[in-house]
Each structure stands twice: as C-alpha cells, then as structure tokens.
Symmetry: C2
Subunit: 371 residues, 2 copies
Amino acid sequence: MSDSSTPLVTPATDLLGHQLEHEQVVFANDPASGLRAIIAIHSTALGPALGGTRFYPYASTQAALADVLALSRGMSYKAAVTGLDLGGGKAVIIGDPTTQKTEALLRAYGRFVESLGGRYYTACDVGTYSEDMDLVARECSYVTGRTEEHGGAGDSSVLTAYGVFCGLRAAAEATWSDADPDAVLAGRLVGVAGVGKVGRHLVRHLIDAGAEVVVTDVSAAAVERVRQEYPGVRVVASTEALIAEPLDVYAPCALGGALDDDVVARLSARIVCGAANNQLAHPGVEKLVEDRGIVYAPDYVVNAGGLVQVADELEGFSFERAKIRAGRIYDTTRAILERAQRDGVPTATAADRIAEQRMLEIGRLRGIYLG
Amino acid sequence: MSDSSTPLVTPATDLLGHQLEHEQVVFANDPASGLRAIIAIHSTALGPALGGTRFYPYASTQAALADVLALSRGMSYKAAVTGLDLGGGKAVIIGDPTTQKTEALLRAYGRFVESLGGRYYTACDVGTYSEDMDLVARECSYVTGRTEEHGGAGDSSVLTAYGVFCGLRAAAEATWSDADPDAVLAGRLVGVAGVGKVGRHLVRHLIDAGAEVVVTDVSAAAVERVRQEYPGVRVVASTEALIAEPLDVYAPCALGGALDDDVVARLSARIVCGAANNQLAHPGVEKLVEDRGIVYAPDYVVNAGGLVQVADELEGFSFERAKIRAGRIYDTTRAILERAQRDGVPTATAADRIAEQRMLEIGRLRGIYLG
C-alpha cells in the first residue's frame, strides 16, 4: 500500500473508532508463561488471514498495536495483489525473543491461534524461526513456515529473492523496451543495499543475468560472504555511497523507509525494485519517484515470494510449484506498470487499486450460496 | 469479588501490562453493519467462558473496555463460587440498541463469537433480549438465553429471585440462629430497593415466608404493579427513606454501589442480601459492613440464579433441574458465612477465596491427561 510505511497511529483507545478497517484484533495474555501477544486480522475477504508472528521487545503495547495493525493490512494487500486466496493478518509477541522465548510461551501462543478456528494462519517473522513454528504447531493446526521435517517449506529467502528478481525483470523490460528481453539486465549497474538472507540470493540472480553488482551492508560478515561467493561484486561503505553510484537499478533489501525525499532526489537509477518492506518513507514519496521518471516496482508486490512459499504449504509444499507461482510476480509487476500508465497514477497506487479490486470482486463471491 | 464495584481502569494502552489477568480480549469490527464489539475472556480455568452481551452506548471504547474487563472477571468468580463448570467472559457492543441493533449487526457479532470456537458462550444482558440471541445463534453455536421456541430458558429473573431468596434464608438462619428455621423470616421487616423484573419475584418469596415488605422504585409503573399484586406491601418514596426504616433485612435489587459509607453507617438491617450487581461502592466497604455487625451475603453469590439457568441450557433446559441448582445458593451462602467466620474475614473476601480456590484446584485437573 502506498501509505504502508506510516504505521496506523490509531490510539488503542480508539481501536474501534470508525477509522479502524481491521475485522478483529485479539489480545492474548498468559501470565504463567509470560505471553503477551496481539493478533490482528485485517481482512478475510479472500480467505483465512495469513501473516507471520513478530517477536520483538516493543517499548509499549501501543507501539506493538500500531505495528501489528500496519503489518496485517500490508498482508491483505500483498496476498490480494499476488492472486492468493488468503486474507491479511499478523501477530506480535511483546518481549525479547533472546530471553523470553520458551516452549511454554510459544505453545500458549499456539493455543490462542488455535482458538481462532482457522481465521488466522501464522508463519515466521522477525524474531521467530521454523523451529518455533514447530512448537506453536504442537498446540495449533494453523501454522506455516515449519521445518522441512515437519512438512514446512523451510527458509523462504530463496523464493523471496527469486520473486524480486522476476519483478525486476518485468520493470527492466518495460524501462528498456528496445533491449533484447533475454539480456535486458546485461551490463546494467545494480546497487543492492543489504545482502543478508534475501539480498545475497538476489545478487546471484543478477550476476547470472549479466548485471554488474555493487553492494553495501552494515554487517561485515554479510559483505564478506558475498565477496567470497561472487568476487566480481563491488562493495561500498554505506547506503549513501551506494546511492551516489551511477546505478541503473536500486534494490533496497534492508530496512524500511529506503526511499525518502533526499534519496529520490539524488538517485540516478531508472528502476527501484528490492526486497525491503515499506520502502516509501512517507505517503507522497511515490509521486516524487514518478516525477523523477523512476520506475518503482512496489515493495509488497515484488517481495511476495515468501508469502507464496508459505501459502503453498497449505497444499503440501512443493518447491517447484511454489517457484512457478513466485515466477508470476513477473506478470503481476507488468500488470501494475501497465495499470499505472493507463490510470495515470504512481505504481504504488496502481498496485493498491488492483489489490482492492480483487478483494472486492472475489471477496463477494462467497455470498453465492453453495451450502 | 470484593472490588468488583470499581471497574478495572486498565488503560487500553496497557491492556497487556502485567496487571491484566484476563486471558483474551477480542476487538471485533464490521463497518458494513456498524458492529463494534469487545469480547473479554477472563478465565477458562473451569470451562468455557460464559457471560452476557451488553449493548450500550458507551461514551468511549475505553469506557466499554473497562466495563467488559470488570464484568468478565465478575463472571469467573460467580461461576466458580456457584460450582459451575464455566469460566468467566462478557461482551459489550458499543452503540445505542434502540437505533443500531439490526439483524446484520447481531449476526455479524455471532460470526465473531463463532470464530472463538466455543471458548466464549454468550447470553442476554443489558440491552439484549432472547430474540436477539436467536439471531446471534443463526451464525453461532455458542449462545444461551434464546427464546423458549428455540430451546432457550426464557426469562431468567424468576430463578435469579429464587436464588437471592435462598441466600437470604441462609443468612437469616445464621443471624437469628435461635429462631425456627422454617419461620426465620416471619415478621421481619425487609426493604427491597428496586422491584423490576427480579425484585418483584423476590417480594413474592418474602411475603410467602411471612416477612413484612417495604419497597421503593424510581419507576411508578413498577411500584404500581407490586402494589396491586401484593396490597400488604408498603411503599416509600426513595432509597433514602427505605434505608431510614427499622429494617431487619436490606435487599438492594436496583443499581450498583448500593452500599456506600453513608448507607452502611445509617442502616439498621442485620442482613444485606439482594439481586443488584456490585453492591459494594468501593473496596473496603465490606470491612465497614463487618464492623457494624451486618451480615452481607455477597452479591455475585446470591444473584447467580440467572447464570445457573443459562448454564442449564447447555444440557437442554429443564426448569425443575435449574431450580434445584439455584436452590443450592442456600448452601453456598452458608459455606461462605462459615468460611468468613473461620478465616476472620469479611464475607466478600471469603467468597473470593472460595472462588479462587476452586479455579485453582479444579482448573488444574485438566492437566491430567485423558487423550
């Protein structure tokens, strides 16, 4: 969503105020295990709400609530635009995962997820891992992202990176329409900010496509690993330095808010397409991006590969099938760029429109009685 | 509970603060029907949380939250002390029932209750009626208080009044232990404040037991009905005037907060036992009552007849069985008065202790694995 970078600052006291568009917000409390969690179900128009469980030491319940409301809304839009039969949800567990994560706490959490009867499916997110989901699943049927031994799909960064790359291909073909589509990235300079789990795999795709790659990361270890795997990759010291490069493509794969007024003004890249969430630092940035002639492949569209992967688990995971589905991010991105041109709106707005249209048109079909 | 008259003023922003003892708080939102509801599950230690749905035009979400937290806690204690296999829950729908109550809203609410998979059973409360529960039940399996045509128990005021009378009998026998137990209320002056649905039936029981009855009510119609049914009943103009009578028993059956410092100081009654909720105006009043030698039959103990009735519905309603169960409020009240004496604590404290002990001792039994 174009305003996804600004968390909904709905005060909890107005949680049921008319601004709230979420269907359901569940506070779960189990003093014995220390569990304090909020599960937000934004929409079930397209199916059960799916979204990860973030385990994070929020400064306040208010901060946790703002985060879970914004994140669950984002999941609705991501699932909708990606063509999945899923609604949007998310959960946060308030606490420090390094000290407070116990079997009892995770299983208590699982019982609350179970109590929602399948309206919400959970998955991994910041601070939770496949092993944690295995524990949650011992109390609950509505868990994805489990370990491979337990029928899960394991690490989702491979398909997330693949989806971003497919979206980038679509944006590149639209931008350099005279180029040979099979070599559209050959020789282009791509800057990747963040080469952690996802960025690293993206680098591989880019090199395979013949691009020149320049990277940066706050983690020296992450940089070193990429340097060893791909000796041709150039490293710069900071995102500032990366932005200053004569980039053709900028791929933010680290923290949110990568595109602020300043970055947009200085960027030489014709395309922005990366794995990071909430790349637009504030509502309105999408206009500045458009005015500068930069093609922005909306974050939640191109980074949906991980969601595609966990969604595939619901049918019994097949990596090949999930990869084919993640590959359709190419088509989705194309459709969004075309819609943006047709409607004369920023790409982020076009993505929102397609997502909202699908929630409305497909969501109403459940009204046709079948028994 | 002795502090039930002071709503938990937990700010919503601290909803998951360590003070919160509730298991789960669910915010439900359906803009299309206008539904804005909060379902609070205080405890499921003894079984599914049961409590009514209050439909009320709260001034704020905050006020609604404070109410539903306090009310659901009260239900845990009531069910526990009454010996039911039920936990405590409650729901509030924010809005004006006279203008906002629609089929769509009630059924949307029913879907959210259904989504909790039986952890919460609902019932009638202020602003909701058996006909409303019939509508809720069209979307939901976890509904009591339905109309008799739909297997419900209908009006619960008959058994509520009967339970209060049984509690009063127990308190009277303890207070006037030299009297013939079968005539312990004969000739006693009983003041009934509030002769609406419940108070009216209580008047009948009192007259049948040979008591003299003096009543008051803000509703002239309610007073007139009692006057016609029981010409021997004396009417006074206000609760103030009622308190000033040389009462043997005071039965508050109207609003909460009936026992404040002033009333306790002026009361001549040896016993307080009525149907009203939250009779203690603030924590500590139970001590003043005890110091004045007044026997207080705790409100949530003696007014549990309505809960007994709806709980009976879960087995297929039988009025005779439910009446026998409501009659056990006599035994519960006796046990509480004895415990208070033994522990040297106010009766309200003794009731809380018995309730808490049962939640702990019986609640843990589920830990014995059965498959």
